[in-house]
């Protein structure tokens, strides 16, 4: 018989972030796209109304009993703030359309958007307020910002952004100036609306994307400038990219947790970051689409066995967004498995299970 859970989701999360063992491993099902299915709406209809998103998140948490509400809508919401277009599809996240920066000179004409004037951002803030009113201090609400260093992939396209990085240092500096200010204001607006913590998505900083030696002068410097000015706790997520080659610098960026992917061993990650940063991850969201109940249980048990001991670990996916195609049965199996294998003290043979 399973032991009763003795903590609220917020207590469980805060305990593990303090590198101690709560009653069980916290589970963050980052299923921002799945609320539309719960309500029988298309993503476009769903994200148009903050009340729908709030209801969707509340229903999902009641269903799976995971440990957070996710006020993140979709990454391209920030493109709307800069005047860009968002393209909706029926079975996945909305995409950013044509880049707002068509030429490098355009960067010098950019001005920091005013948060309160952007309808898309206001919808996120309203949903955050509604979630906070419902959930109180029972569970954390996780808001999201794109890092100033990674946002340009959507502002100008990946190819042009790489050229900017390597060949146009002055325009790059200017873009970072406006992006840093926007990121801080956007994060703090979400915290003021009721978000408990901010997930700082920074995939471009990963050595998977840029040369490791480039990080110090770019993503690291920008995170050091940005994160201390965000008035609440942050988690940094490199969206499946590798983190170990820049582990030392990541721990110096004033972030509390780190989203990790499947390409690095959780044992190595745990040994590297233990007592310094909590880990968030690393279930493979793409493989998850094909999991059955047994596959879900095996993956959950393995992740907990590798990274659960001593706390400092939140079970989640590897990317910060569970694909739309992942079934309800699979998410239920993950939720059941974390209750099966994630109770502290962990069983010594959890991996064999």
């Amino acid at each position: 018989m399973r032991a009763a859970e003795t903590m609220t989701s917020l207590q469980r999360t805060l305990t593990t972030l303090g590198h101690a063992e709560p009653d069980r491993v916290p589970l963050f099902l980052l299923n921002n796209l799945h609320g539309s299915k719960e309500l029988g709406l298309t993503p476009k209809e769903y994200f148009a109304n903050p009340e729908y998103v709030t209801e969707g998140q509340l229903r999902l948490r009641r269903k799976y009993g995971d440990d957070c509400l996710y006020s993140f809508f979709y990454a391209a919401v920030e493109v709307e703030a800069w005047g860009g277009e968002v393209i909706y599809i029926d079975e996945g996240p909305p995409n950013a359309g044509q880049p707002i920066v068509g030429h490098f000179d355009d960067i010098f004409d950019l001005h920091v958007p005013i948060i309160g004037e952007i309808p898309a951002l206001n919808r996120v803030l309203r949903a955050t307020e509604l979630m906070k009113a419902e959930i109180g201090d029972e569970a954390p609400i996780i808001g999201v910002v794109m890092s100033p260093f990674s946002l340009p992939v959507m502002q100008m396209g990946f190819e042009d952004y790489l050229l900017l990085l390597f060949e146009h240092p002055e325009a790059f500096r200017r873009l970072m100036e406006v992006n840093v200010e926007f990121c801080i204001r956007w994060a703090n607006a979400q915290l003021a609306a009721g978000a408990t913590a901010i997930c700082y998505f920074d995939p471009v900083s990963s050595p998977t994307i840029i040369p490791r030696e480039m990080y110090g002068d770019t993503g690291y410097r920008i995170a050091r400038e940005t994160l201390p000015r965000i008035e609440g706790p942050t988690a940094t997520h490199l969206a499946s990219g590798r983190v170990l080659p820049i582990a030392g610098q990541l721990t110096e960026t004033a972030t509390a947790a780190l989203g990790v992917g499947e390409s690095e061993d959780l044992c190595d990650l745990k040994a590297t970051f233990s007592g310094k940063l909590s880990l968030l991850g690393n279930l493979n969201g793409i493989e998850m689409v094909g999991w059955n109940e047994r596959g879900a249980h095996a993956a959950v048990a393995d992740a907990i066995a590798r990274a659960g001991a001593g706390g400092g670990f939140i079970l989640s996916d590897n990317h910060g967004e569970i694909p739309f195609q992942v079934s309800s049965d699979t998410m239920m199996a993950i939720a059941d498995a974390v209750r099966e294998y994630g109770r502290y003290p962990l069983d010594g043979d959890v991996r064999d299970a």
Binding site: I89, N95, F158, P211, V289
Partner: protein, 199 residues
């Protein structure tokens, strides 16, 4: 690895035999692309290395080889496309690497499955490389192949992109003929497949 296009172009200009530029492409450029691809696979090089390296190699190759490379290593009808996604970097990298190695290929750009089928029909494409970033787009490969089958078209489809890296069996499930995880993978596959197509 230093990303220095100016130095790379200077070295290439000094080393190439103007009467036999394809030898330089085969003996220098292709091994360079192989080295970068292998480094990407091992986690030594980043996506930025791969992109900038491919771009510099393509520029050098373009400056050496004739616009329509009749002396290139293939006469197959090869094309590359992005399916539905708005993320074009992967296609650009593979296209650059193949062009740098002397292959002539058509770039269909970003297409829906229906438009991609039209392009294939118009051009008599025999080898089609499809690049995707998002999972829904990866799943659209199956839709494209179903449309192609309805039309009775037989072609070889090679897929690549993040969803296929994260789920190593996904390329089989969507019905592709092969998967490439790097530009060099794509180069090897196209070499093998175009050789088969010619024989």
């Amino acid at each position: 690895m230093a990303v220095d296009g100016v130095a790379a172009k200077r070295i290439a200009a000094e080393a190439v035999d103007p009467d036999h530029p394809l030898e330089f492409v085969e003996e220098i450029m292709v091994p360079v692309l192989e080295e970068i691809g292998a480094g990407w696979e091992r986690g030594i090089y980043s996506l930025a290395h791969v992109y900038m390296g491919s771009r510099i190699c393509e520029e050098i190759s373009d400056s050496m080889l004739p616009p329509s490379p009749g002396e290139g290593p293939t006469t197959s009808r090869i094309a590359i496309a992005v399916l539905n996604d708005y993320h074009l970097l992967g296609k650009k990298i593979v296209r650059s690497a193949l062009r740098a190695a002397g292959f002539n290929l058509l770039d269909f750009g970003r297409c829906s499955p229906e438009v991609l089928l039209e392009r294939v029909l118009e051009n008599g494409t025999e080898i089609l490389l499809i690049s995707v970033l998002m999972l829904p787009s990866a799943l659209d490969v199956a839709e494209f192949l179903a449309l192609a089958e309805q039309e009775g078209i037989r072609l070889t489809v090679v897929v690549g992109g993040a969803p296929f890296r994260l789920d190593p069996e996904l390329w089989r499930r969507v019905g592709a003929d092969a998967v490439g995880h790097s530009a060099f993978d794509a180069l090897k596959l196209v070499r093998d497949l175009s050789g088969e197509a010619k024989s």
